[in-house]
Assembly symmetry: C2
Homo-oligomer: 396 residues x 2
């Protein structure tokens, strides 16, 4: 029999970071407390009512009346996969917009499930040009047009209205990744005309990672209902999952009970603040962060018009050691920021101000800390960094 010494393992004690990377973001103590409520059964009447309330709160968050609005039992990438495997059958035409890691991931998934992929590319750090999409869609019977709203790998915000119109005109379903945008900026599913949307809990919802809120509109549900082939994933088959979350309560898989408690509390906090106030808060802190960053002599990667409020990419100055700076932020200040992914590895920092972490205290802390570290690295910062940030708050 193989043995193990249990005394080798100490109590969980992760300390307390300030999470300003690309997610997870800081979680409110209220959410952690809700998550640690006693576990109960997945068919317990109390849990069923908590599920209903979670769905009501998610519909508010997505600004939708879609009945099929639920948290998928996996992280944001599971939500992405859920949308594609349910809506795409082998041979279906799918147009995917790619300008970063998450568009690339969408294209990867389409290939795996046998969709006929057309990519519309834009350089990393730039938005997708709707004209390119229009051309890609022309003359094809497109089943799904997919795009990332908030590209977490680059910090680019993709305007959705033009693409929604193109999808509508082409008779295609409009599928949108809102993993990073939801809860931090407007994601008005019904007004925009989004047919399928997914997100993650660990960004602007400030809930631990583990669930992926999704919403499918009437056209998506009809597509799902009229499939000719079974959904390739049993676990993510929305026909069956909806039978549990909907009225029948038919057992499919055991829901992640405590994670649902956590999500419900995170959504309740959002409802208390109100979406508009929450979006304003993200924008204000973003403006202050950028003002400070630019006063420091650093450069934002993304053009002003295309920036996400909650995820800020900063060009790493020449001669500055990426890993050393991030290491010092974590070690000396307890601040996590993200490095670059893919094309941006070693070239950009990703600074998140998401949900519970999106506040003046953290903006000022980050600016102060990075200024100190960069100075030690020989990078001469401007003298008026904190004043520039303060001016933005004073205006508001």
């Amino acid at each position: 029999m193989k043995t193990i010494d249990p005394n080798r393992f100490r109590d969980i004690d992760p300390g307390q970071r300030v999470l300003m990377g690309p997610g997870p973001s800081d979680v409110s103590p209220r959410v952690l407390q809700a998550m640690s409520a006693p576990c109960i059964g997945h068919l317990d009447p109390y849990f069923l009512s908590a599920m209903d309330e979670t769905q009501q709160l998610l519909r508010y968050l997505f600004q939708t009346d879609n009945r099929l609005t639920i948290p998928v039992s996996g992280t944001g990438s599971a939500g992405m996969e859920t949308c594609f495997v349910n809506l795409v059958e082998p041979g279906d035409e799918v147009v995917v917009c790619v300008n970063g890691v998450f568009g690339t991931r969408m294209a990867d998934i389409v290939g795996r499930i046998g969709g006929k992929l057309t990519r519309v590319d834009a350089p990393w750090g730039r938005t997708i040009d709707p004209e390119d999409v229009r051309k890609a869609v022309e003359g094809k019977k497109v089943k799904v047009l997919a795009v990332v709203h908030a590209e977490t790998s680059t910090g680019v915000c993709q305007p959705l209205d033009d693409l929604a119109a193109i999808a509508r005109d082409a008779g295609a379903l409009f599928l949108v990744d809102t993993v990073t945008s939801l809860g931090g900026m407007e994601v008005d599913v019904d007004r925009i005309g989004i047919d399928a949307v997914y997100s993650g809990t660990q960004k602007c919802l400030s809930c631990p990672p583990g669930l992926s809120p999704i919403s499918l509109g009437p056209a998506a549900v009809e597509t799902l209902t009229n499939r000719k082939t079974p959904v390739v994933s049993w676990y993510l088959d929305m026909g069956m999952v909806a039978d549990y979350w909907g009225g029948n309560r038919k057992y499919h898989h055991t829901a992640p009970i405590n994670m649902v408690f956590a999500l419900r509390e995170a959504l309740r906090i959002i409802a208390e603040e109100g979406l508009e106030a929450r979006h304003d808060r993200h924008l204000l802190n973003h403006r202050a962060l950028v003002a400070g960053v630019e006063a420091m002599g650093l450069e934002m990667v993304v053009a002003k018009s295309d920036r996400l409020p909650m995820l800020n990419t900063i060009r790493i100055p020449a001669g500055v050691n990426d890993a050393k700076v991030r290491g010092a932020l974590l070690k000396d200040f307890g601040i996590e920021i993200g490095g670059g992914l893919g094309d941006f590895a070693g070239k950009a920092w990703r600074v998140g101000i998401m949900g519970h972490a999106c506040r003046r205290r953290n903006v000022v802390l980050f600016l102060s800390a990075i200024q100190t570290i960069l100075k030690a690295e020989g990078f001469a910062a401007g003298p008026d960094v904190l004043e520039a940030a303060a001016a933005i708050y004073d205006e508001a």
Copy 2:
């Protein structure tokens, strides 16, 4: 703008059940506390070391040296899907043993991913006959032989050694579902010769649902490495997931941080108790439960030789209202037990004594409560129910 009244939603307060159904089981306060530690990043050095420790503890639990031993970011069914989508390519011969809901689910998944399915059936409540499996395998180039160790829908324990030998002789991978057995009875992966195994956190590990521990042995890893087609699921692609959990730490998807903290604590509790003591505890409480149940004049569904210790199916006596009894257990005593699934719906109760919930206090509570309820339903119980259970404990 759609609005919602946040005051409609109250604080999470599920009360405190005694979870004696088919899972989730009662969660130790230690696990809930670990789960509510502050969230940190998925590449934070502290989290990386927590991942390593979780893997070490999982290897002990599975009694394996398999390097690829990790928790999949989904519930037990995601673990099932992970094993099949990674090991089976379209056209591969797969033999699945079916004697309940979970074998049926395996067969369903094989069909979805294009495997060439051969079912070996046994009646619900009975074990699979190895001779039937031998015949099914004969003359085929079988890629995977799959079986459920502990059929949660029936309470049947499937002996594994004969089936492992058949798989080995046939050159097939031996894939085993240990969702309900792991942590409550012997699952000695390396000794038995299991190539791929998955479980869930919410049964005998007494951790909330949300993760699925899996382990893939060298032959399974080789199969995965030599695939001709991509894994149909991006989310569950073990090649990429292993790159994050293994040495490279390459970002795949954001791990469910706090759920991993919870699992690590649940595994630490298991290591402290020791597997042998834990298995003995499950067996003892099972024997006492059965003694009480039979003294009451109730009948176990499964023959004595084939019973699982942690999941006990009891035949519902003629004339007794299933839903009413379970409702009274929940309402008057706060005890959850499970109803029957599939063929057993309305015919059997499923009483779990799993992990943290597996203790004398709960056995006696359940026996007392059901005796009281059945008496009110007109079912005359024997007078010596509690004495029968006590006699088992006294012997031990």
